[in-house]
């Protein structure tokens, strides 16, 4: 057995309240869109696409809200949190 290959334990990252708040913005927005879709399923015309006009198939407002949440979480929040943690580390 080669003990040189022992897995290194990763330190658990403790995020600040501000970082957690930024990371929760996207999921909260997506959940708001999901709740809207559940409350008003007729807004998701893809669930019943027959006899729908082109624009009614394009416009799915609860999906827009979910998409904004997902995109914000994937594209904006990680960079903001990385910069915030770097600034917090520098200040401490």
């Amino acid at each position: 057995m080669n003990t040189q290959l022992a897995t290194e334990a990763r330190p658990r990252i403790r995020r600040s309240a501000r970082a957690t708040a930024v990371l929760s913005l996207g999921p909260l927005t997506a959940i708001a869109g999901l709740v809207w879709a559940i409350v008003q399923p007729h807004r998701i015309t893809l669930l019943d696409p027959t006899d729908q006009g082109f624009w009614w198939l394009v416009s799915q407002p609860p999906l827009y809200v979910m998409l904004v949440g997902v995109l914000f979480h994937a594209l904006v929040a990680p960079g903001v949190v990385a910069d915030l943690e770097e600034a917090e580390e520098r200040d401490s």
Binding site: L25, V58, S59, Y64, V65, V68, F72, V76, V80, A87
Partner: protein
Amino acid sequence: MTLALIPPSEHVHWWFATGILIVGLCLVAEAIVGPEVWGRRPWRRYLWPGALFLMGLLMWPVMVFFTNSTLHVIAHGVWAQVGMLAGAAHLGLARGKLVNPAWRLTMPLAFVVSGTAFLIHEQNGALYSRSAFVHHAAGWLLIVGAVFPLLLAYRPRSTAFGLGYAFTVIALAVVIYTTRDVASIFGHLSPEAGVPHR
């Protein structure tokens, strides 16, 4: 599936609400982390002013294709102008081309002028229809909410003012998402408004 070239007006409202929601989320994040951290990556500095400028620009075709009275034309033209002005001013501040912090006052100006345009161009009472209520709610929200960008212009690092400003913008997105061409509001719909649908 039928293909009409011009989308129903409520869809256009939802697209703008989506743009406003994007701006609102960016403003919440900026208020939480502070302007210095938010501005660390150049593209991020231009994100919401650019989105605002783009929405102002896109308001022009909306003015051309979706208005049916002089008052509507003027209101949409005013939104286009103040949206572009505030967006461009904040783009200039982000780039460093504009250095006078007074340019930040373009945002409360845009709020007050837009809110006034909402209220003036809606000629029916708030419970006439959903659309009428949306205009009244959006108008007063912007006029009262203008206090946040105004205070933020003088104290740009204030988290409380920043969050108030950001949540005013998000509330505006929510209000605009409730727009329907013809629908009731709290159980009220004037018979003159037309037949409700969806």
